[in-house]
């Protein structure tokens, strides 16, 4: 049997997870609807003044995206853990980190990307300008993969534990705060007319750092959880 190349493995895993996600479309849609509802609750809660909403919008959208990504984290490994697929994955001859990276990417495509696509519509609800919506999308595009990656570590650490859902939020949310600060900061910079690039560069730096380390740490955490 010839060994698969890493890229081949990566694409097979991504395709498998995407197919699985499409078979259970309700899960994907639930996360998205959760995101929309949380964001829509804020104008109802604090009142509909356009000025205040415009200033609040980046923070609200980012916090809602963070919560929505927490919500879907439980599904990242649990299904594979329950039917035993995960144990087989630990046994493959290729690097587990690559497998994990593929799972994270697929997870982001079904849970993070829809949020990014939905965000402009919500931005319009909050009366944001076209320019700040553009920056919001870029910031979300850079930030949500980082959220998925940090979340994957938490999901792997709490795999199969009782009360995993609340615990994973407790572990992951503090680590996500930098992403939140710079992500919302980028949009606020547009609104106040200062430079956006520093915030976006920091988001990019966080993404690159997460890309380098978290698949490896998640793989370690999976091995600890599965032994």
């Amino acid at each position: 049997m010839n060994k698969l190349s890493l890229i081949g493995l990566l694409s097979i895993m991504i395709r498998r997870d995407l197919v699985l996600a499409m078979r259970r479309r309700a899960d994907v849609v639930t996360t998205l609807i959760f995101f929309v509802i949380v964001v829509s609750l804020f104008p109802l809660g604090v009142g509909p003044e356009a000025d205040m909403l415009r200033n609040m919008a980046p923070g609200v959208i980012w916090v809602a995206a963070l919560l929505a990504s927490m919500l879907s984290l439980g599904r990242l490994f649990s299904a594979d853990h329950l039917d035993g697929t995960l144990e087989q994955m630990l046994l493959v001859p290729q690097s587990l980190s690559v497998l994990v990276l593929a799972k994270i990417l697929a997870h982001w495509m079904v849970s993070g990307l829809p949020l990014v696509i939905m965000a402009p519509v919500l931005g319009l609800q909050f009366d944001m300008t076209a320019q700040s919506i553009g920056v919001l999308i870029i910031a979300l595009l850079l930030g949500t993969p980082t959220l998925s990656m940090i979340g994957a570590v938490g999901a792997a650490l709490t795999l199969g534990l009782r009360g995993g859902g609340a615990l994973v939020s407790l572990l992951v949310l503090p680590l996500c705060i930098p992403v939140l600060i710079f992500g919302a900061g980028a949009v606020e910079a547009v609104i106040s007319g200062t430079s956006v690039s520093s915030h976006l560069s920091l988001l990019g730096a966080l993404l690159v750092m997460a890309l380098a380390f978290t698949p490896w740490v998640t793989a370690l955490a999976l091995r600890i959880s599965m032994e």
Binding site: L157, L161, L171, S225
Partner: protein
């Protein structure tokens, strides 16, 4: 060793509190309110340092699979969380007269709050895994991941323009009165000794709990009685 550390911690606390309340002069700008510094500064420094020590022990336990270092890590966590909480609390008490607010969303305060959350996450993760070995290793990974935050707290006053004042004591000279310095160092030593005492007591009970099936435990004087 515990009684020694406990006694010297108590002596240092008394001496430190005496110096800080009766010997140290009143500050020009902040009048009497600055005296909370004698608790706030040692507690904050220790809360950061204990996290590093905890992450170090956790890493040792993860890499070399030594059981005692993982036990040390889990013994240090509650003390660290307590100190981080005290640091925020005394900071709030200090902030009210100085800045006119209990809490401001400043970089150092926020990152210290994150530190408290990291401690709580460590404790919660450790508590929710039944198998102690797996709990040690999983929480060790979390501790190492979280240690990124410590340098951020430490340098936050230099990196961002914040309300929180920078360090007055530096390696090269200081801007502080001698008696204030003495008081702060004594209190620092006292908090150090307190942290060591409590962690040693806690690690002792963790060892006894985990090894409760071992023969040497059942041969202990205290257990036989």
């Amino acid at each position: 060793m515990v009684p020694w550390f406990a006694c010297s911690a108590a002596i240092m606390f008394v001496a430190g509190l005496y110096i800080s309340f009766f010997v140290a002069p009143t500050d020009v700008q902040q009048s009497e309110a600055y005296r909370i510094m004698f608790i706030h500064v040692p507690v904050s420094i220790l809360s950061m340092f204990i996290y590093l020590v905890m992450a170090g022990y956790a890493a040792l336990g993860l890499i070399f699979n030594t059981r005692l270092s993982s036990m040390m890590a889990s013994a240090l966590a509650p003390t660290g969380a307590l100190l981080a909480f005290l640091s925020l609390w005394t900071g709030a008490l200090w902030g009210k007269p100085m800045w006119g607010a209990w809490w401001v969303w400043d970089a150092r305060l926020t990152s210290e709050l994150i530190l408290l959350f990291l401690y709580l996450g460590f404790i919660a993760l450790h508590a929710s895994i039944d198998d102690p070995r797996r709990a040690d290793r999983a929480s060790a990974l979390l501790a190492i991941l979280g240690s990124v935050n410590v340098p951020i707290i430490y340098f936050s006053v230099q990196w961002w323009n914040t309300l929180h004042q920078g360090a007055s004591v530096k390696l090269t000279g200081t801007s502080m009165h001698v008696a204030m310095q003495q008081g702060m160092y004594t209190m620092m030593l006292a908090v150090w000794l307190y942290a060591i005492t409590i962690s040693l007591i806690r690690v002792r009970s963790i060892i006894l709990e985990r090894e409760s099936k071992a023969q040497w435990v059942s041969e202990l004087m205290e257990i036989k009685r």
